[in-house]
């Protein structure tokens, strides 16, 4: 049986380490030091991920860059604690450019959506065949990806309100079904009527304030605050954020493009749907709390 392995080519914090040298055009040798014996063997498939940059939440971004076949693996040194292997890697494709955050909602092995890089932090890990093929092909499970990115961008309060609607009013059996298209439809409706609509009102309010009053410095400081007048939220600042959101949404025609990507007759999407039928919804509490 073929194993599928993901090697992390970066700085590790464990004693596992490796180096990677070109020995001919399509062949590389790699040293792998581990604390336990590995089950990797010749003929296994591998993919390499590299630390790329920082993405949101200060979480690291990984990129899958190379994949191919392991041509040979030899245990070259062994002492009390360490196993040192030398691998010969056949490089199939050098031009893989798949970002982990692009593909994470299409991978069964990812469930930490805030810090997905933690799943690939070790020098090597085994992958399921499905996940390996997804990475190498760059195929995306569009519905789950759209749902995951948008849902997980919301603060806890909105997540809760949306989920209550989804569970109580959508007619979907939330715990049994993974109807991502239905869930997205409801999510779109929630975002538009509750969040984006607030932005439309804020932008209009800012416009009128600026039309009515001369003193622009004072007007820019108008906002809302709690009973004590603490933690003021300024209309000018938040409406500027919404203007940016609407610009991104218009520019990319987000919601319309979405439906064209998620045609029910698409074979790849059907396959993903089947594969993820028993995998949990990609929902996570997130960092904003406690209630709002």
């Amino acid at each position: 049986m073929v194993n599928y392995v993901c090697f992390n080519k970066g700085n590790g914090k464990r004693i596992d380490y490796h180096f990677w040298n070109s020995i001919s055009e399509n062949k590389y040798e790699m040293e792998l030091v581990t604390t336990n014996e590995v089950g990797i063997k010749a003929g296994d498939k591998y993919v390499i991920c590299e630390s790329k940059s920082y993405f949101y939440n200060d979480s690291k971004e990984y990129e899958f860059t190379v994949h191919g076949t392991i041509e040979n693996i030899k245990l070259i040194q062994k002492d009390d604690k360490l196993f040192k292997y030398m691998l010969i890697l056949d490089v199939g494709d050098f031009n893989l450019t798949v970002l982990l955050t692009d593909i994470m909602y299409s991978l069964k092995s990812v469930y930490n959506y805030e810090k997905p890089y933690l799943h690939f932090n070790r020098y090597y890990r085994y992958l399921e065949e499905d996940d390996y093929n997804t990475i190498v092909s760059g195929n995306i499970f569009f519905a789950r990806t759209v749902f995951g990115h948008i849902f997980n961008a919301l603060p806890v309060y909105h997540k809760q309100q949306y989920l209550i609607e989804l569970i109580e009013n959508s007619g979907m059996n939330f715990f049994e079904n993974r109807d991502y298209l239905g869930a997205i439809e409801l999510l779109k409706n929630y975002v538009e009527t509750v969040i984006e609509q607030a932005g439309i009102f804020l932008i209009a309010s800012k416009r009128i304030l600026n039309e009515l009053f001369e003193n622009k410095d004072e007007i820019a400081k108008i906002g809302f605050a709690d009973k004590e007048g603490k933690r003021a939220d300024l209309i000018s600042v938040q409406s500027a954020r919404f203007e940016k959101l609407f610009a991104v949404s218009r520019e990319n025609n987000i919601w319309q493009t979405m439906s064209s990507k998620m045609k029910p007759e698409d074979k790849i999407q059907q396959l993903f749907n089947k594969r993820f039928a028993n995998i949990d919804w990609p929902i996570t509490r997130g960092m904003y709390g406690p209630i709002y």
Binding site: Y56, L99, T101, D102, G138, I140, F142, T145, V146, H149, I150, N152, A153, L154, P155, Y157, H158, T193, V194, I195, A198, G199, F201, L202, A204, S205, I208, L209, L212, N215, E218, K221, I222, G223, F224, A225, D226, K227, E228, G229, K230, R231, A232, D233, L234, I235, V237, Q238, R241, K244, L245, V248, S249, E251, N252, I254, T257, K261, Y288, Y292
Partner: protein, 224 residues
């Protein structure tokens, strides 16, 4: 990789910044806790002022200290909060227009907090009572786009408690909003009822579909 994926990630990043306030980190939304519509309420106030600006002039009073320029997110005492002055074209102060101010009701010690209140020029800047208030408006945002019976009754009761059943004698010269007479229940979607006798009995008029997309409609009983 499909450019649509980076577009979605971009959109999600911007949405993340929008969905919580930049400073308090509280959620931003039109209908929070089902009774918290302060963003829509403020928008309604702005549209009202914009309309009144044609026949009157409007002055902004910023308030002071910690509460300067800070409108309340919910019912709050008037003290130190910002408000607007409605002046005639000669500069004489006609009304104070306040947002979310707590007002002492006619009987008993409780207060009511209409979203918008027209208060007399001499209304005190700390604790106004029903005697200082001449006309009130309330704004209801509903995702389902229809004012509920409960919301309607809350406003009708507020009018009674603040003794404002005569608010229609106050003559305000609106421009595009002409048609609004007396106390007004404003909503983003459909009004609770279009039965003018029913609402007249509660001394109010309704303004429905009041938002950026639709043309609003005023439901009011005209005097014979």
């Amino acid at each position: 990789m499909d450019p649509f994926i980076s577009a979605i990630k971009n959109y999600a990043e911007e949405l993340k910044n929008c969905a919580v306030w930049h400073n308090s980190r509280e959620a931003v939304g039109c209908a929070l806790d089902s009774e918290n519509y302060y963003i829509y309420e403020f928008y309604c106030l702005m549209r009202l002022l914009n309309d009144l600006n044609i026949n009157y002039s409007i002055k902004y009073e910023a308030g002071k200290d910690d509460k300067r320029n800070k409108f309340p997110k919910g019912p709050a005492p008037k003290k130190d909060r910002p408000y607007f002055k409605l002046l005639d074209k000669n500069g004489a102060l006609l009304y104070q227009i306040c947002a979310g101010t707590e007002i002492k009701v006619k009987a008993g010690e409780k207060t009511d907090s209409p979203d918008i209140s027209f208060q007399l020029a001499e209304s005190p800047l700390d604790e106004p009572s029903y005697e200082h208030v001449k006309l009130i408006m309330d704004a209801k945002y509903s995702e389902s786009k229809e004012v509920s019976k409960g919301s309607y009754n809350d406003f009708a009761m507020m009018i009674k408690k603040l003794d404002l059943e005569n608010a229609k004698i106050i003559n305000i010269k609106y421009d595009k909003l002409s048609g609004v007479i007396g106390n007004c229940l404003i909503s983003n979607g459909k009004a609770y009822t279009d039965d003018v006798n029913y609402i007249s009995d509660d001394a109010l008029c309704e303004m429905e579909y009041f938002n950026e997309e639709d043309d609003f409609n005023i439901i009011v009983k005209k005097d014979e």
